[in-house]
């Protein structure tokens, strides 16, 4: 315990000295997020400095082993670091699907060579990854995917199409589910492949969404050659890797339920509620749910770190967190009234409230719909008979 208190003191002092004031401001929109990558776009010098300082300590991934670019911290130390960052409102130095999704899968299924090759650049924010999972005819029924990878001896030849690939147009590499054995039952002919998005034959097309933004793309593979050793896990056993990674994706998405640093939605909406008792009541009930979910998230992370979480618990968290986030944005647009309808004006910051509200509608679809999560909870946690 004394050691942990010492760690807390040192961490606090280091954060005070190294976290730029600008990086302690609440995140206003997507442009405030730092994604790193081969050609990183930094919004400011402070953003670059914060990433470099944290990466140098391995604190972009505090609980990964040091040899893979992590901080080598224990679960307790990681929690203290998070608490101390929250205390000063420090932003995450790096947003990364490499950290939240691919990294955990590589740590579990990757070879030693793969871990040493891929993980450090993820930790430093040097390679930006995207996820090639969904296809036009493989959404909730993901395992029916049809993108082919043919064994050509020294390489795989990939042909097919992915969809809803988040930021494919900005990503450097992709982790991708491909069918390597078309004759096997659908879950048993899938492999987990890594390749460079600059490979000849890869192209992307952003999809315009109802929010007016295009965070997702269609991604096309036309005779893409992928070196043989870039398979994670065993060939034709990629579904195990995929499912494991989905658990981490769901964990990450469930974090949307937390809604950033500000604990109380009502405190934020304040004046809009004064003359609207029914809306105030809804927001008050929402704040109860949000605070309770915050406790649930803390418990979930503590249980995960201690290896006590039920393997299907990410599904529960994903369901609860995303439904909560949708409810939050319904209340925010309702409180905004006509102001929240402006789509382009400077006054409305380019329709930020309306666009974010629409964006959240995808939360309960991406990473497995709410209905898929409920089915998983019903079967795997409650043990209800399967259909």
């Amino acid at each position: 315990m004394a050691d942990l208190e010492g760690f807390r003191r040192e961490t606090r002092a280091w954060l005070e000295a190294n976290c730029p004031a600008e990086m302690r401001q609440p995140i206003r929109d997507e442009s405030d997020l730092c994604w790193g990558g081969r050609d990183p776009v930094f919004k400011s010098e402070a953003q670059r400095a914060w990433l470099e300082a944290m990466a140098a300590r391995g604190w972009t991934v505090p609980d990964w082993p040091k040899e893979y670019g992590g901080g080598g911290l224990s679960a307790e130390e990681t929690k203290i670091l998070r608490q101390e960052m929250a205390r000063i409102g420090a932003r995450e130095p790096l947003y990364s699907f490499g950290i939240s999704m691919l990294g955990p899968a590589l740590l579990k299924y990757g070879t030693e060579a793969q871990k040493r090759h891929y993980l450090p650049p993820i930790a430093r924010g040097e390679i930006r990854w995207c996820q090639g999972y969904s296809e036009p005819n493989a959404g909730s029924d993901l395992a029916s995917l049809r993108t082919r990878a043919e064994d050509k001896g020294d390489h795989w030849l990939v042909n097919g199409q992915k969809i809803w690939t988040s930021y494919a147009d900005k990503a450097d590499w992709i982790f991708c589910l491909v069918r390597t054995d078309p004759s096997a039952p659908k879950h048993r002919g899938i492999s987990f492949l890594l390749f460079d998005m600059k490979s000849p034959g890869v192209s992307t097309r952003p999809i315009l969404l109802i929010s007016g933004y295009s965070p997702f793309c269609e991604t096309f593979f036309d005779n893409v050659k992928v070196p043989r050793q870039q398979v994670v896990g065993e060939v034709n056993k990629g579904w195990d890797v995929a499912k494991y990674l989905l658990g981490h994706e769901r964990e990450m998405i469930s974090g949307f339920g937390l809604g950033g640093a500000s604990a109380s939605l009502g405190a934020r909406l304040g004046p809009a509620l004064a003359d609207d008792p029914l809306l105030r009541a809804q927001v008050a009930r929402f704040d109860v749910d949000a605070l309770a979910f915050r406790a649930m998230s803390e418990r979930f992370i503590d249980e995960l770190k201690a290896g006590r979480a039920h393997p299907a618990q990410p599904s529960m968290m994903k369901y609860a967190g995303t439904e909560l986030n949708k409810a939050r944005h319904e209340l925010i647009v309702a409180a905004g009234g006509a102001d929240a309808l402006e789509w382009e004006s400077e006054r409305s910051d380019g329709g930020r409230v309306a666009r974010e509200w629409l964006r959240t509608k995808a939360n309960s679809i991406e990473g497995g719909t709410s209905e898929i999560q409920l089915a998983i909870v019903a079967k795997r946690i409650l043990g209800l008979p399967g259909a």
């Binding site: 604990a263 405190a267 109860v288 406790a295 649930m296 529960m316 609860a320 209800l384």
Partner: protein, 371 residues
């Protein structure tokens, strides 16, 4: 501190779970006392067994003969009470009352009896059908060496069998709490059976005279004592609700795996699977909120009050959902007195009202957040 039970706490849970399932079971306690029309609504022998198990001393300081543990541990016992609907003075006496008198001269007077499972305490706070402690109007006027109490209280849980009643009244100096002994002159006690077959009481105070040393804490400073009692009572009620809702859900899920219609188990129907899964999520979230509130209360943290409000509100709504879905998914037999599921919806309703319902606590949380 991680947000799950420590090994010691898990051991206490196992002990409490086995004890309550055996000695506090519905058939042995709730139905037994209900069916014979017991005027107390609980068994004194079981209350003494609680004492022997050490439960009654969980929140009592070691210097006073207790275990000196916290609200997490008290909540562990309460969750098991909730699971078995065990009628017991534990919540009001060993949790709320003990927290109120802790560190005052009243501890020496009352705690030995609580520790022995002999003494039962009650809290006289509510004056109307809803919990509104901010609006306590009962008067305490100076009279001689003490005070004279006039007014009325209701929803005084175990008020008809209590040896001591903690009464909240308004003196000239402000809110003041009194420890009133059983049988005071001018005190009218009407035992009232509630829907869950527990006994509440309506109290009438007609010039009830109390000594100055009946005051708990300082005259006019009763808010602090009341806050201790309510924080403990609300957190405890929330823990009991998680037990009530959790057991109701387990019964229901077990039923879904056993009842066949249309040639298949009804648990195969997605319409029921989704509702059961949603319910599971709600209860897990409530359980986390309750544990967080208990830990913060034990730490004496500033954020405890907000978390307690959220925990009571969330546990109340989640448990209530479990009880309602429980009856619906059981179908017709869920409406019969013979099946236990109907007992859960009754206890759930009483615990939801006790120390403030979900709306009250959502409003309270909103006010703490400045809106």
């Amino acid at each position: 501190m991680p947000l799950y039970l420590t090994d010691d706490q898990a051991m206490l849970r196992d002990t409490a779970r086995a004890f309550m399932a055996e000695e506090g079971a519905i058939a042995k306690q709730l139905r037994h006392w209900r069916d014979i029309g017991c005027k107390d609504g609980f068994g004194h022998a079981l209350w003494r067994r609680f004492a022997e198990m050490g439960f009654n001393g969980i929140l009592v300081d070691e210097a006073d003969g207790g275990l000196g543990l916290g609200h997490v541990e008290a909540g562990i016992v309460l969750e098991e009470i909730g699971r078995n609907l065990t009628p017991s003075p534990f919540l009001v006496t060993a949790v709320a009352f003990v927290s109120a008198v802790k560190g005052t001269p009243h501890a020496a007077r009352w705690l030995p009896g609580v520790l022995a499972g002999e003494t039962v305490a009650a809290l006289a706070i509510d004056e109307g059908p809803k919990h509104r402690p901010e609006a306590i109007a009962m008067r305490a006027e100076r009279a001689g060496n003490g005070f004279r109490l006039n007014g009325a209280k209701q929803f005084v849980v175990q008020g008809a069998s209590a040896d001591v009643i903690l009464v909240a009244a308004r003196a000239e100096e402000g809110l003041t709490l009194f420890a009133l002994e059983r049988g005071a002159k001018g005190l009218d006690v009407e035992g009232v059976r509630l829907a869950d077959s527990s006994i509440g009481a309506r109290l009438g105070f007609d010039n009830v005279e109390v000594d100055a040393d009946a005051v708990v804490g300082e005259v006019g400073q009763g808010e602090r004592v009341l806050a201790r009692a309510l924080a403990a009572g609300r957190t405890g009620a929330a823990a009991e609700l998680v037990g009530v809702g959790g057991a109701a859900m387990e019964m229901t899920v077990a039923y879904l795996k056993q009842r066949r219609q249309f040639g298949r188990l009804i648990g195969e129907f997605q319409a029921l699977q989704f509702r059961a899964a949603h319910l599971h999520a709600e209860l897990e979230i409530a359980r986390a909120a309750v544990l967080k509130a208990q830990q913060l209360l034990d730490e004496g943290a500033d954020e405890a009050e907000a978390m307690i409000a959220a925990a009571k509100a969330k546990a109340g709504s989640a448990s209530s959902l479990a009880a309602r879905e429980g009856i619906q998914m059981h179908g017709g037999i869920g409406m019969t007195d013979e099946y236990d599921i109907g007992l859960y919806i009754k206890r759930d309703r009483v615990l939801n009202e006790l120390f403030g319902d979900a709306n009250y606590h959502a409003d309270r949380l909103a006010r703490m957040n400045g809106y």
